[in-house]
Amino acid sequence: MDPTRVAIVNDVDLSPVGKIAAALEIAGFWEILRRTQLGRPADALRLVIKPEFSGYTADSPLATDPSLVEGLIDLLHDRGFAGLTVVGTTDSSGLWAENRDIYALSDLLGYSFVTPNGRAYDIVDLGDGSDEAAFPLGSALHGTGLSRLWLDADIRLVFAKNRTDEENGYALALDSLIGVLPLADKNLHYRQRRHPGDVAAALLDVAPVHFVLIDAITSTHGAAGSRAPETVDTDTLIATPNIMLADYIGALKMGIDPNVSRILARVGCKHPLPTHYTVCGPLAAYPDWQNVPAPLLRSTQIRAGAITLDRLIEPWLQRLDPELFPLKNPLDARLNAMLAEFFADSAKSPTSQWLLIAANLLLGLIGHIVESYRTLFDKDALHHAAVPLGIDLSNVDDTAFTDLTRELIQLEPIATDAPQMSDGLRWRYIEDTVVFHYSQTLPIDFDLFVKSVDIAHTIQFMNDYLGGVVVPLAHDATGRPTRQAERNVYLPQPNYLVLYHGKPIDVSKLEVVEYDANRHRLYWKTIGSENGSATYDDGIATFERTGEGTCITIVGRQLFTLPLFWQVFDLNLVPDIKSVLVTHAYRTFFDRTLSNFAALVEGRDIRLGRPVDEPAPATSDRLMELLGKIGEIAAPLLQRADQAAQTGSHEHRETDADGFVHVQPALQQHQVPDSPAPGIDRWIAEFGQFIGGLQQAAVRDLIQSAEHE
């Protein structure tokens, strides 16, 4: 098999479109089309081209140059490939700026819908015509849609722009690819509530990209990335059939480690680079290229963790043409005018850069505090975790399941004979892991219990389950799953570890389910942890018929990764304290899990948090709403202050014939009402009632106390 080819064309003698032609040739594009044709006429091939549209000015260096896209269309037409469509969708900027729908945007960016050679083309919004079943169970995007136009295309081509990015170091083809997804608020759904790497990988699973071009004729470099683009002539065009390779080579040309991008790093786990590839062209970094400084990059990543605040300041910092893309919210417009230009200097001005870094860190800290509060006290304000299955099922065979049951059964006697630490809970340490045995009986008839509680989903019913996916792999004669793979995400355990930046427990497991007339069992063994939060999380949950109801026994072995603070502050040095903490943590976890089982029998929804794809309005709109409410409350105060000011300062002055100035008090002139504003009245009345009520209560306490004495 021929190695994958990457073309880096920077021949100064070639025009930009000439560079495209050369790159297509070198990277084997026409050969790909020929193979895909399968004897069909060229014009029967359905091609879709996804350029980058994220510009905020006419001729924006952030967007793929429309003249190059049109040049590419002409090249395709020249070879008979007329069945092509340019595609795009609205992104999150549509929430806060006007003219961001794909039709208005493409027009403002300079698309003319007819090529220089007179070939008409369409631009289609991929937000329309979604197939809601596009992503299978186990995909990070399962339950969301994808355009049928994109899915059904014979050739999917991404035409990315060469640009730095404050959060990922660079934004190339994988970033552009996310733009084919239909939900308008892309940042929220595909970058913040889901890992963008999981999203891109899920897209490549169901609709691989056949070819990638990177427009590096004029690039955007510098510290501010897409926020305040700084153009640089790089006069290069990159082309390859492999999207991972496109970003990889694109990053090398920027002189940056490709894995700086969390998108590429994550996608690479599932779609690694080809083992054999050939690069045709210079790999030396672009001259004078400037990347995002590491402190700014890291602080932006920290700020990105504070989703609401990150969304709030995005329109304030984005440099844009307010004539073409007016901001919807007056607060945004005001702050954008004040801040965007100031922070646009972050590439050159150390003051601006360090202020931005400080602001990023502060917002990140606030976000962490809010997240910690929610984890500890307001779990239902959190959003579900949407993650893909973290197991490559092609590597899993029968022996994996038989081995795991055999191995886990050996845990039972060890756990059963562990010392009793609390009612129903036993545990002990083995090789740094906690081996535990928890058993309680719910006075619920076994048959009713197993009818109400799907044992195969036991893991999802455990305390603090935030999200995940379970993929059945084998079933019994009645259709019940007997073998399955699962990935699950829990809140940090114990919850207070979130204060120390404790990670959510994120583990992928293989599971076996057994069903008997009087006993159902689930075995699970951890295969891996995407975020390194657990080394062991294995166990057996047994549900057994007894005279008192249903006995639930959970035996397991766990070793979770502690946050850095607790690794340094070694609790093993104070075993008594550690023992109390471990007992409390397990007791709380399993008691609440037991309550979840009981609640399921009651028909309750026990899932904590909110749906991952719950829409969120622009944060500035919410801020305006809040300010409006504060204004309503403060209005009476302001009114009174205003009246007072008028009373004090607007005295009427008259000079008489003798030159004496006569001052008339303002109160007489303005007839300021005797009574204050109604809002104030209410406040005073409320406060009076409060004081009166408190006074009465205190008096009653005193009388009662005296009577007792």
Partner: protein
Amino acid sequence: MRALVTGAAGLIGSHLVRALVQRGYSVRAMLRDASRRDALAGLPVELVVADVLHPGHDLDTACAGCDIAFHSAAHFAYTGVDAATLHITAVTGTENLLTTCALTGVRRVVVTSSSVVFEHQATAIPIDETARLAGGAGEPPYISAKIAQHRRALELAAALRLDVRLACPTMTLGRTAGHLGPSNGLIVAYLADPFACTFPGGCNLVAARDVAAGHAIIAEHGSAGESYLLGSDNLTWQQIHTAIAELAGVPAPRLELNQALSFLAATAEELRASVRGRAPLSTREQASMVGRYYWYSHAKAAALGYAPASARTALVEALSWLAESPHISREIRAGMHLDVDVYRYRAAVAQGEPA
């Protein structure tokens, strides 16, 4: 016998409809247009839409042909309903119904009053129907409204020559399709309280099922112009909260708040609820009742055959329903471990056995 029940969708009304059906009455259940019908689903009753605040054709039609009326329509609230509305619903509503009953030939009316009309004690001594009616001054608007209703019902009974009997339930617990109400709310408030606070004083708890049966007994065996307290056990708040803790499997009371602290805690809860846009679980009006003993004797009704279940049973029934209802949040439910008695009650109900 054909019976009209006003407020048939409410806590007492819905249980009353069920009790009357079980006793063989032909029941006409009267609701307002906006009332939920869930609690009456499947019952062999005639539903009529009318409002005691709007006398006229609908109310006349609802009363026409009935032998007896049970007037249980009321607002039971310490928050969210202003004093004027509480008063109008209680007094004007009762006036309208009694007048219409007199006009349409309904000769007997059982009015749902309240035990609070007989005041409270500063010490742990139960009150009976021989106590004087409370004055109402300085009381929360709900209590003032019930006192006014009670007095007005007795006045009108004499004026209209109607056989009016007054049922005076104590703190009534049980399943309801409507809003939570202050009585069931006391359970939720304790479960939601992270500090597990209790208070001095106490009250009398009774199951809605028993209150409903009590109404029927008063109608059948009571006397005109008489009031009957319908309660069960008299308990201190400490005992009530301890029982809730045992049955729900949550921490027992840890802290007894005096009246001043209760007032401050209620203020904080009202502020919290206001910020969150929800109804508060406790109010300053309720806090003003802390330290008092709302203890009552139901001996007079018992002499007619009224035999309520224990207060603990009332709590079991209420908790069984609350635990599976949306009134208890997911997070609170996750911290509850229901007592075996709650499961036994559910099993009995599932098998159609009387609990």
